[in-house]
């Protein structure tokens, strides 16, 4: 056997705010870095296609719409600056290897070996340390009819607007809660969408509870931004229905109407959003220690103040370690890079701690409003565990809430047992969209707290990879053949 290429100091998975910031910081500290990302361009979900709109205030002559003024805003400019910073570092440093369109399908944590697939071709890269910056996913919103064509997530609608300039045709509804609902409403209305209704599911009394949680003074800038968004949305004709309960989507082969307790709306598009949860697919597959976040109703990997996990070579930064938003992710990415340099012997503890002061302060600022938002937008019990037994919870295998409850009564103690009983979580998405719901349903049926039901343990491959790709040669640019 010939020895493989020398391992990189640091492999970063995900080129969103956390991954980009970590890559730039680690490169500046002299570390060799490989940055892999599933998207064709850096930015993550929050700054998707942000480069296409940067520096192009007059719009885009090619007819592409990422330069759409509907998306303009101070956050987009910040995102464009982050991406430009990464591009500059890539251009200036031979140590920084950026690999777009590259998905991680297996990680051997002990050997530091990442198995990837790029454009259908398998690859491998070795690294002394790994930083997972895989971000967030939208919380599943299992309502009756949510599998109908025409029902999408609010995030999906935002991606369609950012990358294809597309808005829903005809009447549309956004249902759920959280800042993204208002931001999306404004963006769709600015871009010329048809009649738009926001069905708000926030519970009564949420605002007083949230105000008691504090954090308002230091987070007032973000709050002011939110209030001005709400004002603009209403001025642009958004219809708002507060206190929506019992939401369901209706239609035969596609969405025709949305109904709730006391109301109904004919529409062809329904956009669901009940906040975001950490994307823990890889950290769970690795068997890292996780903890239940009671404020955000989700699991997250157990991390120290530098993002280090329970595995000595693996760290996590950004929303994948707990929802904090893009500014917190940037700070966490920098801290993780500093700690990587320390653990690799490139920086002593005193230098690391001194350099960590600015990102630590930024992290505190970014998280100041979080307790307020968590309480204001806590998901209702019906979102976590749909009460109607006929509701599909596993979209892939079409398993209903009633089937999961029945399995729990027969003795299934958590999502891993339900998977064996019913195939829930065994389909192509590997439980990304049903794992949390199944756990909550089992907990409800067994009368135990949700975290006591445990988490689904996914297996590699994390992403689909063909046998052909596995059988082909392993392309590694710096690996001479023979």
């Amino acid at each position: 056997m010939t020895p493989g290429p020398a391992p990189r100091d640091l492999a970063i998975v995900g080129a969103g705010p956390a991954g980009m910031a970590a890559a730039v910081e680690a490169d500046a500290l002299g570390l060799s870095v490989v940055l892999i990302d599933e998207q064709p361009t850096p930015g993550g979900q929050v700054f998707r296609a942000v480069e296409a709109g940067a520096g192009d205030p007059a719009g885009d002559p090619a007819g592409d719409s990422a330069g759409d003024p509907a998306l303009a805003g101070e956050d987009r400019d910040s995102g464009a600056r982050l991406v430009a910073g990464l591009r500059a570092a890539i251009g200036a440093s031979a140590r920084l290897d950026y690999r777009p369109r590259t998905a991680l399908w297996h990680l051997d944590a002990d050997a530091g070996l990442l198995s990837t697939v790029t454009d259908g071709a398998a690859g491998e890269v070795a690294a002394r340390r790994v930083l997972l910056a895989t971000g967030a996913q939208e919380r599943p919103v299992p309502i009756p009819g949510w599998t109908l064509p025409g029902v999408l997530t609010a995030g999906a609608a935002q991606i369609l607007l950012k990358t294809a300039g597309a808005v829903p045709e005809g009447a549309a509804a956004i249902a759920g809660q959280g800042p993204l609902c208002w931001l999306l409403a404004v963006q769709l209305l600015r871009a010329g969408a048809g009649p738009l209704t926001l069905l708000e599911t926030s519970s009564g009394g949420a605002l007083p509870r949230a105000l008691r949680a504090g954090g308002l003074w230091s987070g007032r800038a973000a709050l002011r931004k939110g209030v001005s968004l709400m004002r603009e949305a209403r001025a642009r004709g958004l219809r708002v229905v507060p206190g929506v309960r019992g939401l369901r989507a209706g239609g035969d082969s596609r969405l025709r109407r949305v109904a709730w307790e006391g109301g109904t709306l004919e529409c062809g598009t329904l956009l669901l959003h009940e906040g975001v949860i950490p994307s823990t697919h890889v950290t769970r597959a690795l068997g890292l220690a996780h903890e239940w976040d009671a404020g955000q109703f989700c699991w997250r990997p157990r991390l120290d103040a530098w993002g280090a996990t329970s595995h000595p070579a693996i760290a996590v930064a950004g929303d994948g370690g707990g929802i904090g938003g893009w500014e917190a992710a940037v700070a966490a990415g920098r801290l993780a890079a500093l700690d990587a340099a320390y653990r690799l012997g490139r920086l002593d503890a005193a230098a690391r701690d001194a350099r960590a002061a600015p990102p630590r302060a930024a992290l505190r600022r970014a998280l100041a409003l979080r307790p307020f938002l968590d309480r204001l937008y806590a998901p209702s019990p019906a979102v976590l565990a749909p009460p109607d037994d006929a509701t599909v919870v596993c979209r892939c295998e079409e398993v209903t809430a009633g089937q999961v409850r029945a399995a729990a009564r027969l003795g299934a103690t958590g999502p891993n047992q339900v998977k064996a009983f019913l195939r829930a979580g065994m389909g192509p998405c590997q439980g990304r969209l049903c794992g949390t719901t199944v756990a909550a349903l089992v907990a409800g049926a067994r009368g135990i707290p949700v975290p006591a039901a445990g988490v689904l343990r996914p297996r590699a491959p994390y992403r689909p990879v063909t046998v052909g790709a596995l059988a082909g040669p392993l392309p590694e640019a710096d690996d001479p053949i023979g």
């Binding site: 090619a62 592409d64 599998t147 999906a156 990358t163 294809a164 079409e398 192509p428």
Partner: protein
């Protein structure tokens, strides 16, 4: 703009958009039917999480259409029910 084929229909989509965006712009009623009940599906999450946009792209089945960037002449075909062995 880029022209792709969704089913047998040519569709113009902005460069940089995904195959799943092309599907939604095409008015196709479903990109796949489910293996269990044959229910119609269209893309749902657009960010690689739900796998409801699985399609046959340039002859390769079960690809996540939301993770594939459109290219001129790309053929995006629906998948029906249980895939052939």
């Amino acid at each position: 703009m880029v022209e792709v084929l969704v089913g047998d229909r040519p569709v113009l989509v902005p460069a940089g958009a995904s195959a799943a965006a092309a599907v939604l712009l095409s008015d196709l009623p479903a990109i796949r039917t489910t293996p269990v009940s044959g229910a119609p599906r269209l893309p749902y999450c657009m960010m690689g999480v739900c796998f409801d946009c699985l399609a046959e792209i340039d002859g390769v089945p079960n690809r996540q259409a939301c993770m594939v960037t459109v290219a001129p002449g790309m053929r995006i075909a629906p998948q029906r029910g249980v895939r052939a062995a």
